[in-house]
Amino acid sequence: MIELEVNGTSHRINVDPATPLLYVLRDDLDLHAAKFGCGLGQCGSCTVLVDDKPVFACITPIAALAGRMITTVEGLGTREAPGIVQQAFAEEQAAQCGYCIPGMMARAEALLRRTTSPSEAEMRAAMRPVLCRCGTHMRILRAVRRAAAMRGGGVTDAAEPVR
């Protein structure tokens, strides 16, 4: 039995401690934002936050997570009251197929929790581990810049202004 704190709620989970967090989120807790992409920690579509840091949920065994704070995209806001990152992604229409977007939002959230005024290079480096096949990178970057501004900061040397 392992106790997991997800989006502020405590859950007692009775599965093999080697089970990846992603499976527990999707199969046991019905949290479907984080996606299964490669299952090898290479594509980033499963990214969630653990103690404010972005991690690949597909290669994170729940054995590693006792006493730590897990946040998924569901924890950032709701349809009625979206969080800032979610709002910015919607306003910039950053999603095409949408498969990578929860991972992108988790990365953006982690970056903005660390600093609301990153440099353009810092932002791109932070987003780099999540892959997008549709090619909406420019819109995703715009969304992150917008979210930074909405949180009271802004990308210091933004490649494009927030409109």
Binding site: D16, P17, A18, P20, L40, G41, V55, T60, P61, A64
Partner: protein, 450 residues
Amino acid sequence: MLFGRDAEQRYNRKSFLRMKVLRSGWLRWLVIVLALLLFAFLLFLVWAHRPPIAEITPPPRTAFAAAEIRRGENLARIGNCVSCHQSAHGRPFAGGYGVQSPFGTIYGTNITPDAQTGIGRWSLEAFTRSMREGVSRDGRHLYPAFPYTHYTLVSDADLRALYAYFMTRDPVRAEAPVNELPLPLKFRPFIAGWKLLFFEPDRFRRDPDQSAEWNRGAYLGEGLAHCSACHSPRNWLGAEQRSEAYNGGWSAGWYAPPLNETSPAVRAWTARRLQSYLRTGLSVHHAAAAGPMGPVTHNLARADEADVRALSSYYAWWMRDAPASNREPPLADRSETARRAHPAGAALFAGACATCHEPGATMMALGGRPALPLGSPLHERHPHDTIQIILNGLQPPVDEAGPFMPAYRDILTDRQVAQLVAYLRTRYGSGPEWPDLVEEVTEARENSAP
């Protein structure tokens, strides 16, 4: 009266005592000794002094022949110059990488031909003196983090080619950060003392009993490529211990394993295998190039093939008496023992590592990745390489499609990394259990913070 009678008397007694010291000559001796020391120090300063070499007008690109520049480019790749002369987000050769030494951090300088912040006003003579004697154009002694102890072996023709290459790069205006060293070490004339102890200008001498290829490899490996700078131990003053050449050393928190008969590899490093490792960043009989070795292979993959072959022959020769060269042992897999000894590590391995590393995993079968026990880290004396790879992952060393491993620094705590490392050592490694793993992980995490 301010002090009262008693105090005044005590004061007088004291000054009387001081007079006596003078008369007995103590102070005089002290003055003489100090004067001698000062004189010796001045003599030392005169001896340590190197004159500046006159500035030149930055030469135009057309001053250098294209073939010469190309040769210089190859040599700069073999020398891995860019690793220290480029910062993480900086431009090539504009400097800024911090070499971590036990004494402090020393920053690679700007070696683009910028007239103000680079070497634009350096003549060939000034460039040659810096490479062979470790003295800057303005006469300052250079810290031996710049491996002139090796570059002193480089030939005149190769120095000319390197000079042509650097003087034709795009000039970048970038001042290198100020070195972070304790005050006495900031005093550069002391480096002259270090040189007196540990450095002798020299040229490469061929060994007539060895092949031309061996000699080429020795010339490049001992000179420009300066392999032993990382792969040899250093003494307490930071000088390479020549008597223990290639016995393993340190670089940026990574252990650079021995390249001699004490190599911990479990598969022989033949010239052919070394060649493919150095050219692709991956030996399917060993492992991928990790840590500071990644950029080395990145550059060698783009260097002259015959030169890399010569380096491979030379280092295969150095490792000819290593255990694996005589007999390649069967690979251990003590999974049950390891699981019983380190159950927590076993669970972490199953959830975090097995999808790629368990025998038969997709990454192994389709990706052609070598099995975990083939790499040296689990057989090394020190746990640092295993810890570094888990904490910081592996970036494709040579090109984007190369081997990649995600970093686990945000996934696992120090204790969990330690449990995993202990499990891996027991399951696949050789040698005794590593002590103090939690402390080692904590330290590695702090020192490699992104």
